[in-house]
């Protein structure tokens, strides 16, 4: 059996290969929306923030976590919305 660190390392390396292979030959039209969509995806850190702000008593740690949750939520919600707005008028209806 592999230890948890080794599993994480495997996951990391394989995900990197996947990411490298996923994108090729993007038409220039889509450079900005693709960047914007990928940027929204990097807001995935929202799930990290969710696991931290689970106690009621406010402390420095909770405040930092709450701030992280707010910023990550802005990144996710705003990011996907702005991408959709860019794509709404071209491509999608074709």
């Amino acid at each position: 059996m592999m230890g948890p660190l080794l599993i994480s390392l495997y996951v990391f390396v394989l995900a990197a290969f996947l990411g490298f292979e996923l994108i090729n030959k993007v038409p220039p039209t889509l450079h900005t929306p693709l960047m914007s969509g990928a940027n929204a995806m990097s807001g995935i850190t929202v799930i990290g923030a969710l696991t931290l702000v689970t106690v009621a008593s406010p402390s420095v740690g909770i405040v930092l976590g709450l701030l992280a949750l707010i910023l990550a939520s802005i990144n996710v919600v705003g990011g996907f919305l702005v991408t959709d707005r860019m794509l709404a008028t071209f491509g999608g209806r074709k």
């Binding site: 990411g19 993007v26 038409p27 220039p28 696991t51 992280a68 071209f90 999608g92």
Partner: protein, 471 residues
């Protein structure tokens, strides 16, 4: 089946949605559905996480999601089409900051706020200790870099000051941040002192982002933002290691890797190398080309409209000036007026016209210009020689013939729209001021070029009016 098994299985579904979504987002026909799939993957990831943490006190969770989501919606609703690139830069900074804050929050909750003296490595394990520092470093540098990129895109900050010994300064800051941070994690048992050292790491990282972006010119901001986006993905992945959250590691790493490839693709489209962009060398050779304009012909909209009325084919070339003047609707009005007369009208889209690759597509799409009228550079370039009039609206460097015929020019070799091959060229521009590359444009001096000075929206509206009346 335990809850853990169930959430682990569901996480696979979330990853699948991300991967398929990202793939579809890179093709025009499927792009919008791809974005929706990714959003679905994100929603699933959040639901999985809520399921995993079980019954807890939800007040901060709900507050954070509602406040953050609300602000996100508000920013997008209030944004204008020309501001999209800045918005992406801002969101990117938020994403990086969030990852750094998650790491800091973990550090405070699990180390500083737990009574007793022990090192962070003892409390959280060596992996978490190392990746925590990485997350803070990368995430914070992404934040300061993105803020600076947004200011440069807006034009609030137009100078690109040199930083003496920049590479050494940056390397020094990174090494100090990393070294000091790791020392605090592994050797400082007094958590209060460790916390102070971590704050110092945050300051060093903020400086790294600033030094990185400071000397890079506005024209290269798209590439920089794409690179910062890749970094914010890596920051999320580092956070994933610190929390041993596989979903976070996978999604963050995919963004990191895909973002790097996209950055490379953008560099190729702009005919620049990534090293070149980061070095911030753009425009340094520009002084050579500075110079006064000699023979420049200008005219008013009325006489230009008369030429347009006689034209059989017209190509409109939009640039950042069109987006800045919010003239996309006026441009489409002119196109329709000409189309009504039976004139052939096409829009020529340079891949990097505007502040970001694809910027013109976004702006014209907002005016609902039909996709069939938009042509990419490779399709439209052979057509200019058979075209009566080319109308350049607020574009400069992307139509500068120096890219083809002046080897020493800073933009030499950059693919351009060969506008000068058209029989007549109209250039709608506020003034003769240079574009981003900071160089003179010989096109404006050509015999068949006529400058129509003024605000793009006003000139286009006037032209459309004249053309419509002439029927």
């Amino acid at each position: 089946m335990t809850i853990t098994d169930l959430t682990a299985l569901l996480a696979l579904g979330s990853i699948a949605l991300f991967v398929i979504g990202l793939k579809r987002l890179s093709r025009v026909r499927t792009a919008r559905s791809g974005n929706a799939l990714m959003a679905g993957g994100m929603l699933l990831a959040v639901l999985i996480t809520l399921l995993e943490i079980g019954l807890v006190d939800y007040r901060w969770i709900i507050t954070g999601l509602v406040v953050g989501g609300g602000i996100g919606v508000a920013i997008v609703v209030r944004a204008q089409a020309t501001q999209m690139p800045e918005i992406v830069a801002r969101f990117n900074g938020f994403g990086g900051a969030a990852s750094a804050l998650v790491a800091l929050s973990l550090f405070w909750l699990a180390v500083v706020e737990v009574p007793g003296d022990r090192t962070t490595a003892d409390a959280l394990g060596a992996t978490a200790a190392v990746t925590l520092v990485l997350s803070v470093l990368i995430g914070t540098a992404t934040l300061s870099g993105s803020i600076l990129a947004e200011l440069k895109l807006r034009g609030t900050m137009s100078k690109d000051p040199r930083v003496p010994l920049r590479t050494a300064v940056m390397a020094g800051l990174v090494l100090i941040g990393l070294g000091v941070g790791l020392f605090a994690m592994f050797s400082l048992a007094d958590t209060g002192v460790a916390a102070l050292v971590v704050i110092a790491v945050v300051v060093a990282s903020l400086l790294v982002g600033i030094v990185l972006v400071l000397p890079i010119g506005g024209a290269d901001m798209p590439v920089v933002i794409s690179l910062l986006n890749s970094l914010s993905g890596l920051a999320a992945a580092a956070t994933g290691f610190a929390l041993s959250n596989q979903l976070l590691i996978i999604a963050g790493t995919i963004v990191g890797a895909a973002g790097l490839i996209l950055t490379q693709i953008m560099c190729v489209a702009m005919n620049r190398s990534l090293v070149n962009v980061i070095a911030g060398s753009f425009g340094e050779a520009g002084d050579v080309e500075h110079g006064e304009y000699g023979h420049v012909v200008s005219a008013d909209a009325e006489s230009a409209a008369m030429v347009l009325e006689a034209a059989g084919s017209v190509i409109i070339v939009p640039g950042y000036g069109l987006a800045a003047a919010r003239a996309q609707n006026a441009a489409y009005d002119l196109a329709r007026a000409l189309l009504d007369r039976g004139t052939q009208v096409r829009f020529a889209i340079h891949p990097v016209a505007g502040r970001m690759p694809g910027h013109m597509n976004v702006v014209l799409a907002e005016a609902e210009v039909p996709y069939e009228l938009l042509f990419e550079m490779s399709e439209i370039n052979p057509e200019f020689s058979q075209t009566d009039v080319a109308i350049v609206v607020g574009a400069n460097d992307v139509v500068n013939p120096a890219a083809n015929d002046t080897p020493g020019s800073p933009i030499a070799g950059m693919p351009i729209l060969e506008v000068e091959n058209a029989r007549r060229v109209f250039v709608i521009k506020r003034s003769l001021s240079p574009g981003y590359a900071g160089i003179k444009n010989a096109l404006f001096e050509r015999e068949h070029t006529v400058m129509l000075f003024g605000d793009a929206k006003e000139v286009l509206t006037e032209l459309a009016g004249e053309v419509t009346q002439a029927r």
